[in-house]
């Protein structure tokens, strides 16, 4: 007979109590595991999509632009784009830099006209910064020629295909409405309604011509290896631009995906709050349960102490019982969660029908959670930790049992 063996038998003595505790622990562990993977999915897929599709890792804008972004202010453009881009690419921590001009565009086609966001892009530079060039489903990318890229949604509504000519109308920086005719070079699809239905890309020279801009852009989108490091590198660059250049500020990608970030954060914090409540309840439940178990076995435990158990042996016994309970509950929880996790991770959840088309988060057609081994480890650790935490006080009580008084049965 070993201490763990004795602890294991004690755990199964009261099957009902063990069963109830196992349910509580397994629910907590299962929920934790499922939620960790779900939240990781946000980071991996949604944040990744936001960065790859649109925002890049960081952006440089003129100071004040972001505060007035609603009016798409062309008077707050960044000058000397080519030169600035060259210097940015020489900055450590920045691997890609692509200028854009944002403006309110109106597309006029034979089937009708539509207002949407226009973006003049430096097509070659854009390859290093976003996935746009890889999302062309028909036609070709903007390879050094004037033209525009339409989203699959809007192309469908206007009945346009590559090769069709479309008029683009916009108000230039001086308030004059200009119009230019451009061919549709390609149709793109991100699987994200807000972009496929809401943006038209023009080659940068055509956009600058339409808006009467020189070598100016309204933003420079940046990419690099370091995530937040790109913003820091860009901030350092902006500080070194000199007094002759308009004040410029670096922004992290989160600034341009506030709805997404806020939604993910709200979801994530809700999960964590629920997890805290659940594990708090589990700790209290285990504490209660172990206290009762100790109370019932007072005479037995005192007898063990009388025949030679040291205080720490008695303590270890109770902690081991907590650990065994934890192992059972945790294993059960992970077992129950595994098929759910597999389904969420591999098959995903079809949420396209549940989310409004204009929802500002790139969920895509199917949402996939992203499960990592450390999720299981963390969930298991929490389950085990909660059980041990609940067992500490009863274990201490057992260690302090006055043998003579309690060997008769009462406390």
């Amino acid at each position: 007979m070993t201490l763990p063996g004795l602890a294991a038998r004690n755990v199964f003595r009261n099957r009902r109590r063990t069963f109830l505790n196992t349910i509580a622990i397994s629910i907590g562990v299962a929920l934790m595991f499922i939620c960790l993977g779900w939240v990781q999915g946000y980071q991996t897929y949604i944040y990744g999509a936001v960065i790859r599709f649109q925002t890049g890792s960081a952006q440089l804008l003129r100071e004040g632009y972001e505060e007035e972004a609603a009016r798409l202010p062309l008077d707050l453009a960044l000058p000397e784009y080519r030169q600035v881009r060259g210097r940015l690419l020489a900055t450590p921590g920045i691997e890609g830099a692509s200028g854009r001009v944002d403006f309110a565009a109106r597309l006029i086609a034979p089937a009708g006209s539509v207002r949407l966001l226009g973006q003049g892009i430096d097509a070659e530079a854009e390859r290093d910064v976003t996935a746009l060039s890889r999302k062309i489903v028909r036609g070709s990318y903007l390879d050094g020629q004037p033209g525009l890229l339409l989203g699959s949604g809007i192309a469908g509504k206007l009945g346009l295909e590559p090769g069709a000519v479309v008029f683009v109308s916009a108000t230039d920086r001086y308030g004059v409405e200009n119009r230019t005719a451009l061919p549709v070079r390609g149709i793109f699809s991100f699987g994200y309604g807000a972009m496929d239905d809401g943006i038209v890309y023009l080659d940068l020279p055509s956009a600058q011509y339409l808006l009467d801009l020189d070598d100016e852009v309204t933003r420079i989108v940046l990419a690099g290896p370091g995530g937040d490091g790109v913003r820091a590198a860009a901030a350092g660059f902006a500080d070194g631009l000199g007094a002759s250049y308009p004040p410029t500020k670096a922004y992290g990608w989160q600034e341009f995906a506030k709805a997404t970030v806020s939604g993910v954060r709200t979801d994530t914090y809700s999960f964590y709050i629920v997890a805290v409540i659940l594990f708090g309840l589990i700790i209290v439940g285990i504490l209660n349960s172990m206290s009762m178990s100790v109370h019932e076995r007072t005479r037995e435990l005192s007898t063990l102490r009388a025949i030679g158990f040291r205080r720490r042996d008695a303590k270890r016994l109770i902690l081991l019982e907590g650990l065994i309970l934890a192992a059972i509950g945790t294993a059960a929880g992970l077992l129950v969660a595994a098929p759910v996790a597999a389904w969420l991770g591999i098959r995903g959840v079809d949420i396209a029908g549940s989310i409004p088309k204009d929802f500002p988060v790139p969920f895509g057609e199917m949402y996939h959670a992203d499960y990592r081994p450390w999720h299981a480890l963390v969930s298991a650790a929490l389950g085990i930790g909660a059980c041990l935490a609940g067992s500490i006080i009863p274990a201490r009580r057992v260690a302090r049992l006055p043998i003579a008084q309690t060997i008769g049965g009462g406390m």
Partner: protein, 401 residues
Amino acid sequence: MLLKMAVLSMFKHPKRTILIVLAVALSVFVMEFVSGWIEGMRDRMNRQIVEESAHVLVERTERVDSLDPLETKNYIADPGSIAAQLSTDARVRHVERVTPFGALVLAGSRSLPMKIVGVEKDSGFFAQVPRGRLEGSFPPSGPGIAISRKALDLLGASFSSRLIVLVEDAYGMPSYRELPVTCVFATDATDFDTSTAFVDAGTTSEILGTADSAELWLRLGDPEDAEAVRDFALAFLSGHDCIAKTWKELQGGMLVMIRYMDLFMLVINVFVLVVAATVITNAILMNVFEKQKEYGTLRAIGMKRSEQAFLVLAEGATQGLAGAVLGAALALPVVLFLKANGLPIGEASRMLGGGDVMYFGTNPVSTLQNIGFGTLIAVAGSLYAAVFGTRASVVDALKNV
């Protein structure tokens, strides 16, 4: 006296009683918080439906699939007669001509693309605007524009400034009017404020060169009559190349979000309740087992099993009710505070149908339900404990220490 015994017994084991009461209270607190959130979303949606937008919307069929919902064509040719016909239905309280159109609003060198809404002078809609009125009057009467403070800041303008409204009229010709700012407002939704401004019907006709209107908005006595009124209207609307949509079709996105939130929160509630139930059941079981000797004595002197079970249930129900009421009492001030001040969760609040902050709501029925559920988990736990507690024979119960 059995009830008294049950209640007094609770105070004999204060720690365990506190544990059970707090477990129930925590569950009810979580449920109340979550309900408050959902109620807030529902309140906002109801306000939008009841006060701010149409219960039924009538427009030309061609506009439905139009690429540009703000284009200045495909208007209702004879809105007055259609409005008169619609008004014959007793369920219809009010019919109004509303004409949203796209425009560029300019002030000096700055411009802002906006949606301008032409409204009638006694407009019963867009209640959020008069509610958030800062200066001037709404709706604007005569030539003037009602615009938000945020939009004016972007344009570098102010109350009484003159703004240029540049449109493409009904004939596709560029047209503009210079209008004074006669009303400044601020709502709780930045998106709305920076994208929407209002002019009166006369100004709309002048700018667009047509007396036709884009839409007819109907307010009903009961929003639930929307489908029936739509069906009534469709009978004669087809002759005018018009269709009608209900508020459910128009607010589809928000309804989906609320349904999603309902489901999400139900799942959370169930998890919390199940775990709380195991804690509570365990604690009540401990109570029962500790008092086995006492129960054995009472059974020996003539108490029936059913009476013993009643003792256990009464104690559990009392603890459950106390905990549930406590949980609701703790949650209520939090929910009321968030009802008045809102919970700033960033842009997500807009996604969830809120404005810039999420305002909570209260619903007495929902609170009573949550108190009921909280009490129920304690009663359920007690039932389980009562079944097992009364199983023991008198002799076995008396043997307990």
